[in-house]
Amino acid sequence: MRQVTATGLSVEEAVQSALKQLNITENQATIDVIEEGKKGFLGLFGSKRAIVKVSMNEDPVKKAEKYLAGIVNQFDIDISIESSIKDNVVTYHLSGEKIAILIGKRAQTLNALQYLVQLVINRESNKYYTVIVDAEGYRKRREDTLVQLANRKASQVVERKRDVKLEPMPSFERKIIHTALQNNRAVKTFSDGVEPNRYVVIRSV
């Protein structure tokens, strides 16, 4: 974390000068006032300059990436991380050999990592981020599988006129199912059950 100490005739002036030195804006900084400063008599005697310490807040996306790296590096496998950000969705792509150990059975390890990274990124940031942790395109493959599954189950529902309950899935996977069947007029979808065992139900209309 970079920080500078600056002085000025007033606190405001000192802060501005510090921000200029760091080349950042006020909402990226933490400001500590060390000395309030005094105007002094007629601006001549007993005036004291204001002193402030301004430190730069670390970019939460970078910080969360370091956090993730600190975890995966302990697995003794070579993993590289690439991050990308779109609106408030931050995606970390993990790649490397032996990535399977980080995905785990039904992506439970990958989802656990994703949840932890999301906690860390939102802990100090005033903006809300959604985090996706992906491994070698796993999320995309899973999405394709889920869309296929949704369509297959939907036609089953229409044929048999009976509800189909899918297995429990995390919210972002349920969303893929809901979205996939959104424009299918023959069925409607909703979720039932309590987290972490919420599941999608497909019903014919």
């Binding site: 956090y67 600190g70 975890i71 302990q74 697995f75 003794d76 150990i101 980080l102 785990g104 439970q108 390890t109 989802n111 656990a112 990592l113 949840y115 932890l116 906690l119 860390v120 802990r123 987290e195 972490p196």
Partner: protein, 75 residues
């Protein structure tokens, strides 16, 4: 392994200096005992144990390479 647990937990809490991980090896399992500051207990357990579950999932995945079972105790 201890480093992994610390790496996971430290950024989640307000009092990182109060974190203690102790390791106890038994016949066919290794038990890691995690202690945190009293005010931080909720931050490592979470609503319905959701955070604790995520921490354990990651720790157990890393423990797969050793042939002993691994347990994580959170005080």
């Amino acid at each position: 392994m201890k480093a992994l647990i610390e790496n996971i937990v430290v950024p989640l809490v307000d009092y990182p200096e109060a974190i203690h991980v102790t390791e106890k090896e038994e016949e066919n399992k290794i038990v890691y005992h995690l202690e945190v500051h009293a005010d931080d207990v909720g931050k490592v357990i979470g609503k319905n144990g959701r955070i604790a579950k995520a921490v354990r999932t990651v720790v157990y995945a890393a423990g797969m390479k050793s042939n002993k079972r691994i347990y994580l105790d959170i005080m």
